[in-house]
Symmetry: D2
Subunit: 351 residues, 4 copies
Amino acid sequence: MANSMHYGDYLQLDKILQAQTMESDKQNKSAHDEMLFIIIHQAYELWFKQLLHEADSIMAIMKKPAVNDNSPELQTVVHRLARMTSILKLLVHQIDIMETMTPMDFLDFRDMLRPASGFQSWQFKLLEAKLGLKYAHRHGQEYYISQLRQPQIDAIQLAEKEVSLVELLNQWLERMPFFDEKENWKNYKTVTSPEKNKHPFWVDYRNIYIQSLADPEKNNQQFYDEVFETETSSEGRQLSPKANRAALFIMLYRGYPMLQLPFQILNYLLEIDEQLSTWRYRHMSMVHRMIGTRIGTGGSSGRDYLRGALEKHSIFSEIARLTSFLIERRRLPQLSPEMERRLGFVSPPTP
Amino acid sequence: MANSMHYGDYLQLDKILQAQTMESDKQNKSAHDEMLFIIIHQAYELWFKQLLHEADSIMAIMKKPAVNDNSPELQTVVHRLARMTSILKLLVHQIDIMETMTPMDFLDFRDMLRPASGFQSWQFKLLEAKLGLKYAHRHGQEYYISQLRQPQIDAIQLAEKEVSLVELLNQWLERMPFFDEKENWKNYKTVTSPEKNKHPFWVDYRNIYIQSLADPEKNNQQFYDEVFETETSSEGRQLSPKANRAALFIMLYRGYPMLQLPFQILNYLLEIDEQLSTWRYRHMSMVHRMIGTRIGTGGSSGRDYLRGALEKHSIFSEIARLTSFLIERRRLPQLSPEMERRLGFVSPPTP
Amino acid sequence: MANSMHYGDYLQLDKILQAQTMESDKQNKSAHDEMLFIIIHQAYELWFKQLLHEADSIMAIMKKPAVNDNSPELQTVVHRLARMTSILKLLVHQIDIMETMTPMDFLDFRDMLRPASGFQSWQFKLLEAKLGLKYAHRHGQEYYISQLRQPQIDAIQLAEKEVSLVELLNQWLERMPFFDEKENWKNYKTVTSPEKNKHPFWVDYRNIYIQSLADPEKNNQQFYDEVFETETSSEGRQLSPKANRAALFIMLYRGYPMLQLPFQILNYLLEIDEQLSTWRYRHMSMVHRMIGTRIGTGGSSGRDYLRGALEKHSIFSEIARLTSFLIERRRLPQLSPEMERRLGFVSPPTP
Amino acid sequence: MANSMHYGDYLQLDKILQAQTMESDKQNKSAHDEMLFIIIHQAYELWFKQLLHEADSIMAIMKKPAVNDNSPELQTVVHRLARMTSILKLLVHQIDIMETMTPMDFLDFRDMLRPASGFQSWQFKLLEAKLGLKYAHRHGQEYYISQLRQPQIDAIQLAEKEVSLVELLNQWLERMPFFDEKENWKNYKTVTSPEKNKHPFWVDYRNIYIQSLADPEKNNQQFYDEVFETETSSEGRQLSPKANRAALFIMLYRGYPMLQLPFQILNYLLEIDEQLSTWRYRHMSMVHRMIGTRIGTGGSSGRDYLRGALEKHSIFSEIARLTSFLIERRRLPQLSPEMERRLGFVSPPTP
């Protein structure tokens, strides 16, 4: 690199700062707020690019045959998920700025934008696809396809076909080794009738859970069995029983060294879902406040689409629902010494 | 006041800081996070008290036979509505802190609280009632009544009977004088067929609006007539046609001196609704994340109640929907000189 | 506009999303976090452009020989100042995201950027100059000049020469008409010895203020006279005595219709200063956390420069200090009926 | 617990909601905003109590002769430090609400509060003392003592005498075992002249660091030796050379399993300092905006005190300054296999 490295060149500000062409100026009906409209959307797209950059790097780590828990990689995954939630919070905050544009000010240039539409933000759809939203679960499938160009549709469909973050999560959870070895079995004295191929820990756990249910919650027992025991995949299911058990185990025993980062990973995934959901909700309210029942610039009745997406586009809901299956800490089965040892460090510091 | 005035006495910190008794301590099952649970709810209740204080003072001003637009009162109303939105934003933010309590940590003391429940926060329900939420529109009516004590139910029902903020808003909007005087009529040259008792401004406006509708929006014409022309009150309607016209007029001509504060009032009411709605949404997500499909401490299936309330408890939605009836600024009818004069100051400064 | 209008074309996303070239990639030492570094700075620059767009439009209005208080213009000024504070709050928030980059991660590519530096952000300096920061009051003058290119220096120096927002504010405040007319004089009964050319209101006010001072505050009397009475301009003074009096009057009687928007203007200017100051403070802390006592990429010892700027770059501090000269509302001089009338609307609504 | 458990009783709302007595009411000069003033300070004190609750629990864990890194305790520390930063962010946000009170509105009741003052918030001073702020380093020592009552002074002085969080941190860092064993030495091939009693890792590290310094940074070498090698305790020093080396090691190799939580601990301590500092800065600005150069209700010239505290009350600055001593990841010494093994888990999962 030459000594001439300069802030403006490095950031390519000639491109960035000359990419705002106001349609209202072209039509000689200058609308002051169109600049805000352009710049806020450009800022959103910059941040979407950053989110994709983080998601790609996380998935690259998780795609390895085995994430090496002794390497910095898991820490890197946690750190970048944390950054993603941080960025998503900013995107929610940005809506505050959009709301400084009143409906009357938007009307000054709104019709000039037709048929362009925010639904044409392919980066956001690509992000959803990479995280794990399948085409079959999208709200308004044909509609969004009709809005995008072929190379963008191709990119999203490719992401839908490739392994998604939620699928990588499933594989990673299934690889959790603790319940595979038979020697662990003997330690669970309280197991009365260990079933074949079923670790006695889970026999215990299921019993305790079922006892904890209040009368109106009794059908949670069937729900428990579907989630943790039934192998047949129900349509749209993303986590296998084995992966669900591992995730629940992480939540229950998160304090053990080996489960600390895995717990943080689960927690950040929930946080990402929540921030995405808050963003969709605030966005829906904002669009409603801006255009009411009028037709959006892309021809959609904006709010209805957004409401539909709000309900259906949750990605890590199978992690979220595990909360229903927790039991109180003081009733947890005591882990076997062997299992405890394996969850720890090589050399705990001596006093 | 004696010279002994002291911060701690003034704030009655002996009461405030000794009002945290942990149920888990009483039962010798000390749960660290119960302190957070108590303190965050107490902080919420303190802020609810402040919101009621502001709402009461705003309503006291608006209850006067005529709000004097030449007095500081309208500015006071704007200022206090702004403060209410500021407080509501903090209450949304507080959910971030609640979310630092994991479901497992909550389980440590959750069962000890039964049957106490957040649904027993009567201050929040009182606030909703004062703003304008009627019993008939509440989600889960009997349920919430069953949770409260008689004096609290009485207070809420009294507020429901008395005139609410949205009703005061209706009266205040109806008092807007500009369209009452006949002398204004002659200035609207473009009126082709002025109907009886209908100001030609609104004849013009309706024509322009209907012309602006795209084909799939054509049924907005009927919607327009219901909102602005039909006197018969539909069930649950809170703003009369006259009040709706005044509110729309304020949105359209907000730049005129006399309409500046009224516009800010409408805007802050929308903001309050939006913050309340965001609060309900985040609260609902947080409860779901915390207890999943389990039964809440008050015996309700928390999330379903909250989802119902989310949809039904919007209070100023009739203001929000006016957005559907705006037209572009450049197509607005030109006001008559007399009306323009009346919207202005006595003595505009000379150059 | 053809029917082909498309979101991506309209936003020129080909430019925006292809303007990230990582220096660490070029050097085959790929550093994941460089993408964040580039994108966050690009987002900052986009928002700086928006802030300049708002500031320019506000100044264009205030440059008119007389801002027409009966037009929507003042409302527009208030609205856009509010938007500027909203954007500045987001810029403060963005620092949270920058802080997800650890010092170690920054080190991976930091040396590759030399000698580029954030001090080369000419848009931010241009904004400061437009608001009213003069070259003479800049911290590290030569330093910042040495960092910029000639066209950028020219643009900033031009802005420093042209009339700034704070100067426009001074002119606008001086135009406030209320104290120019002699007929107002007779109404102030309490005036004992009206001085020549001095409105009796201000004689009254000064007396009341001086009486309100506690003993250790007695030298505020001299300070009062310097601010409100002494015409000789002290070096660096931005508001004349007349403008200071008008601003104080607005703060004292903000409830009167004609003073409501002027009060909001003063308030938002203070808010802008505070957000800029918070931004500088958080930025300084962040740089310290990131590079400690090391030399910044531009060769400066970053934190010291930022600390200097923090103290010196306050722009509207003359408005802020007026707080020192307020008196209690119940002790305010009663305005003359004529003055009250002139502060009001033409036609207050009748009950 | 009886079935009568009720939300209002549990939260002791009778105490909480009846602890607002307005001095302006007593004096028949009702000032609407005094309620806000009381409630916001009460909310602050509630949160201070929560911060103390968290700090106490963290220190109780760290006071144990050896924190067991294989137990959930370290995770608990991290989690509660995270919560403390979350609460501090809310406290910063709360200033936004305080700022909705204008200086004129504050004047309506300000004089009635004398001589009560925010400096009498002993909980905040207690928190500072527990974290590690010693009396000798307080700004305005006598002043703050003069404002507090004896039992409160006693509590703070007790906390100053007892071991503080920063001292516990020092002890915990000193216990880090990795450099104590001689067998690790042989692996550092690059060590040319290992000094007596000095682990070759640190000989290597110091050489690499010194080579990395640019010319104007050369005196950082002396600074390095003071921080990491000189045992003589300079006045006010809180971390020993050994503790500093451990903290630096954690920052450099944070990805290893055993260092992941320790790194998060260091990071949250910096975050706490930064939030406290931001809070002081915003608070200082707010006080300045509210009372200008007038004397505060407690008799202090508020802003000057706060500015002094801002500079001096940083608690974890010795952690912060370690940033100055980092080197690029690609130049880090390669750890010995034995050390790598000891930083890992017992049983990394097999592919």
